[in-house]
């Protein structure tokens, strides 16, 4: 026990902390400038000086450890004079351009000088000059204002792990620069500008467009880009969003954001936001009023239901829409139309992966808290780069490594490059060989506990690769043995699983093996989620075979339960998955499709086939915020409210239910749930709803999982899995795995494999509406390895024609020395230049996930003159 006195107050400490922190505990705030909670201490600004009895000089309280018997004073005339002197030194160079500076009003230096002075400086020699740098599209650097506190550098290195900026020069010439001296070319998380105490590093997005004290309202909400679900604050003035900022102490991201959350908020203000409903008249989409559009949709849906039955109608839900929106769509389909044909793009990877793992290990197996990753002593990552797919989760992996944990990555490490201990990059489509060897290694070490008989029984069938087979898969046996050794040393491990684990045939086998690795190591599993609400889509029953709450539709008990709550009957006939709906539409069995917030034509491969299928429908309704490729084909288009314009809830990949709050009123559209409820009402649904909260209220009754979980509990942070009720245990049904007894041979493909890139700066088709994100990553490119560039004779930025099984595109190339041999990458972001437009697909027979087919491509150099 340490006892000390600070400003006459007694402080008792269990563990030693700095005097600054000790003071904070008894409510004494000591001024600081270079200190920032969570960053390593620097002790450079000397603003936090305090007097300590028996110590001759003033001490920096941010670095001085409190010790027993200390008597500390934090605000004496001597201290005030010292602070004034420190500030006077800073003002030698700091320009007094506050009227022109965006930081004025929330600037620490301004506040400190206002408090301590000096009222005028005595240094007459002129200030250093360094013109404001506008070289970067996103970040403005004004180094005349920099006080060299190095908070930005420590943030970028120690929390973000990007190492993109440093102090350059020396003494009075020091300033903060990215490597280029101009453009940042970094991860653009913006976390450096959160910590800059002055106006030296600022966002360019709202430059000179507001003053901090003009912010009228602050709205706490959740990011709409990915399944991490970072909390953020929308700052609003006159019904427009001035900026979004993170806040320390708020949400699981605790003050950090990634580039999409921080800068991508303008995606809802892109060109071409839908402003009015549209109906196709003589082949053209014409604007109509809401009443006409809603009446039309209701009557057409009613007619199709009456003449062909509910099964002729299907709906696509959306991982970008709220739980309330998705619940309502599900309600319309199941209980009003009478069809279980409801699915979403979660079908591609997330939903089947989760369903599969739950069938093996029980409900909630992937529900683990993100902040726990940093505390683990080992992380096994496979199937995608967490720092790009779920960036703030990726930071946790970096943090785990920094505090001594081992990181093992199976697959290209991407943003974990600097943070891996074992980088296992197999030949394309050979992951299952490596996974088998890892599982073999863990079993050999006696890691089978007998706890899950079913898993261990199946593992006996597993054919393990020989050393030659392992080497043929691209991994040396020694490298593998070393990785397994480290896996065995982990006591509190984490397994992180991305969508790419499902790419290629036998997805069930790879999933099973990753599950087995987690089981044998007793690890927590995290499933990366590319959309903010894929989990909610599933939880709300937007899956053909699951009811709200995730219970299987086949269980009569659950069907009866929901009937008792809603007074409405669940259709018994099984529903179609997204892929089956496309097939049925092509065959003419599906007559109407209601698409909410999904661009099917763009996100599904084999565009020609999808186009054909959608073209055969009698009714295609698309509800979205932009006229997407799919919307352009629709019979009716309904404009929806966007992320920052509505209330509701999202469920993130940890299964934390979080509130989304409206920052401003929709410019034109209506909330998705409201549109659907209106249509439902016209088709005989009796219940009406006035707010998203009322919809949620119904969810808490319909879903056993969410019982008793009102908005107030969600707001209070109480909505963390397993909520209030018991999750379902492993289902009796068992599970199927394909091909455990076989190993694939190494096939020589006819050309490089085209694989999807999941870029940090984009997210599906939404981000291409954001001017900010586009300014960082403006155009599509094909990532190729250097060997291919030599073979083709193209240089960086040159063009190639990519001939795929389902399409041909001319693309710029980007040569990446780390790109895996025999593979090229393209993201699914830009219109007319996207991954899905070149390849074919089928559904995985066991898990039902998306399996990409026909993805070897031929590349030809295109000389610019020929264009």
């Amino acid at each position: 026990m340490i006892k000390l006195t600070i400003d006459g107050r007694e402080v008792e400490l269990e563990r030693p902390v700095t005097v600054l922190e000790a003071a904070k505990r008894v409510g004494v705030t000591i001024p600081t400038l270079c200190y920032f909670e969570g960053l390593p201490n620097f002790g450079g600004c000397r603003l936090c000086l305090v007097e300590v009895e028996r110590l001759p000089k003033l001490q920096t309280s941010c670095t001085l450890m409190a010790s027993d018997g200390m008597v500390v004073r934090t605000e004496t005339e001597q201290i005030r004079a010292a602070r004034r002197a420190m500030l006077e030194f800073l003002l030698i160079n700091h320009p007094l351009d506050c009227p022109y500076c965006d930081k004025a009003g929330e600037c620490t230096l301004q506040d400190l000088v206002a408090r301590y002075g000096p009222e005028a400086g005595r240094f007459a020699e002129g200030k250093r000059k360094h013109p404001e740098s506008l070289d970067d599209p996103i970040i403005v650097r004004n180094m005349e204002r920099c006080v060299l506190c190095t908070r930005c550098v420590r943030m970028c290195e120690d929390l973000q792990g990007a190492y993109a900026i440093s102090v350059s020069g020396r003494g009075g010439h020091s300033l903060i620069e990215p490597f280029s001296g101009g453009r940042y070319d970094c991860e653009y998380c913006g976390n450096c500008l959160t910590v800059c105490p002055v106006g030296a590093i600022m966002s360019r997005l709202h430059r000179h467009s507001y003053r901090p004290w003009f912010v009228e309202r602050e709205v706490e909400t959740v990011c709409g880009y990915c399944g991490v679900g970072c909390s953020m604050v929308l700052q609003v003035r006159e019904d427009s969003i001035v900026r979004t900022i993170p806040r320390f102490g708020l949400g699981l991201n605790n003050g950090l954001l990634c580039v999409r959350g921080r800068f991508g908020y303008d995606a809802v203000d892109g060109e071409g936001r839908l402003t009015t409903p549209l109906i196709r008249v003589e082949g053209r989409l014409e604007p109509v009023g809401w009443e006409e559009a809603l009446a039309f949709v209701a009557s057409r849906l009613g007619e199709i239901k009456d003449s062909h039955g509910g099964r002729a109608v299907g709906a696509i839900a959306s991982g970008r829409c709220t739980n309330e929106d998705n619940y309502m769509l599900q309600k319309l389909m199941r209980f009003v139309i009478g069809s279980n044909n409801i699915d979403s793009a979660a079908r591609f990877h997330y939903a089947p992966a989760e369903a599969f793992l739950e069938s093996v290990f029980g409900q909630g197996i992937t529900a683990n808290l993100i902040p726990g990753i940093a505390d683990s002593d080992g992380v096994f990552v496979t199937g995608g780069d967490p720092t790009a797919i779920n960036p703030v989760l990726g930071l946790q992996v970096r943090a785990a490594r920094r505090s001594g944990g081992k990181v093992i990555v199976l697959g290209p490490p991407g943003g974990l490059k600097r943070f891996v201990d074992h980088e296992l990059v197999p030949m394309p489509y050979s992951d299952e060989v490596v996974l088998s060897a890892i599982v073999g290694g863990l079993m050999e070490a006696g890691r089978s506990s007998g706890e899950n008989r079913a898993v261990e029984e199946r593992l006996k069938e597993l054919r393990l690769p020989s050393e030659e087979e392992l080497s043929a898969a691209g991994i040396g046996p020694e490298a593998l043995a070393r990785a397994v050794d480290d896996l065995l040393k982990m006591t509190n491990p984490v397994v992180i699983l991305g969508p790419e684990i499902m790419d290629g045939a036998r997805a069930s086998k790879r999933l099973f093996l990753v599950g087995a690795v987690a089981y044998l190591m007793n690890a927590r599993i995290y499933l990366l989620s590319e959309r903010p609400n894929y989990q909610g889509v599933m939880d709300m029953g937007c899956v053909p075979d699951l009811l709200p709450g995730g219970g299987p539709i086949g269980l009569e008990m659950l069907r009866d339960r929901i009937e008792a709550v809603l007074g409405l009957r669940v259709p018994e006939e099984g529903g179609l998955t997204l892929f089956e709906m496309v097939d049925e539409a092509e065959r003419g069995g599906l007559r109407a499709l209601y698409v909410m917030g999904e661009d099917l034509l763009f996100s599904l491969p084999d565009r020609a086939r999808v186009q054909r299928a959608l073209g055969r429908l009698d009714l295609l309704v698309v509800q979205d915020i932009y006229l997407t490729e799919t919307a352009a084909m629709a019979d009716v288009v309904l404009p929806a409210a966007a992320w920052s314009e509505k209330d509701g809830t999202f469920t993130n990949l940890e299964r934390r239910v979080q509130l989304l709050r409206r920052g401003r009123y929709p410019r034109a559209g209506r909330e998705d749930w409201r549109i659907i409820a209106d249509i439902g009402g016209r088709l005989g649904m009796e219940k009406t709803y006035r707010s998203a909260e009322e919809v949620w209220e119904e969810v808490t009754h319909a879903s056993p999982l969410h019982a008793g979980l009102g908005y107030s509990e969600i707001a209070g942070g109480g909505a963390v899995w397993p909520y209030h009720s018991e999750p379902l245990k492993g289902t009796e049904a068992g599970f199927a795995v394909q091909g455990l007894g076989e190993l694939p041979g190494v096939e020589a493909p006819g050309g490089p494999y085209l694989m999807p890139e999941r870029p940090l700066f984009h997210s599906g088709t939404l981000s291409r509406r954001s001017r900010a994100l586009l300014s960082i990553h403006p155009e599509p490119y094909l990532v190729i390895p250097p060997s291919l560039s030599e073979e083709l004779g193209v240089t960086d930025g040159g063009r190639v024609r990519v001939v795929g099984a389902k399409g041909t595109m001319v693309l710029k190339v980007r040569i990446d020395p780390d790109q895996r041999e025999g593979t090229v990458l393209l993201s699914n972001t830009f219109e007319g230049a996207n991954f899905a437009g070149l390849v074919g697909f089928t559904a995985d027979p066991v898990t039902g996930c998306l399996t990409i087919e026909d993805n070897t491509v031929r590349l030809e150099r295109v000389d610019d003159e020929a264009l």
Partner: protein
């Protein structure tokens, strides 16, 4: 690629990669006379250290050059001891004889001149460094004959 190999050869002499940064920067500088962005990138790659970190260190020290320089760098001291012993006269001489201004480079790219503040040779003032060679006790005659030895 040669730089990278040479740098890697140094790695084992240091407890960590960061420790090898200063010598690695010297190696890179020796190749071109200064540290271009490309040279810094090569160092960063060879040591697997972040580019920004490498640049930060390189810009901190005066002995690393951020701009192209002559083939040979003259570092002449004009601090107190050297000044008393006539260093300023030597500065003038370099201007007259070679057209070399402090901070400048000769037209033929042969020499660059940097003025130093005490190179620790006050007892043998005035003194200068040419590249890494130390030359104390300079006189007007001596400096010319020394410099003629550098092509």
């Amino acid at each position: 690629m040669k730089i990278q190999e040479e740098i890697k050869g140094y790695l084992e002499r240091y407890p960590d990669r960061r420790g090898a940064l200063l010598p690695a920067l010297y190696i890179a500088q020796r190749k071109a006379g200064w540290l271009s962005q490309e040279a810094l990138e090569a160092v960063s790659e060879a040591l697997d250290l972040p580019k920004a970190t490498v640049r930060g260190v390189a810009t901190f020290y005066a002995m690393y050059r951020q701009r192209p320089m002559g083939r040979h760098l003259i570092q002449l001291c004009t601090n107190v001891a050297c000044m008393i012993f006539g260093a300023e006269r030597l500065v003038d001489l370099l201007k007259e004889r070679y057209g070399l201004e402090p901070g400048g480079t000769t037209d033929d790219g042969r020499f660059s001149l940097v003025i130093m503040e005490c190179i620790g040779a006050c007892d043998r003032a005035p003194a200068m460094l040419v590249d890494t060679d130390f030359h104390p006790g300079l006189t007007e005659e001596k400096i010319e004959s020394i410099l003629e030895g550098y092509e």
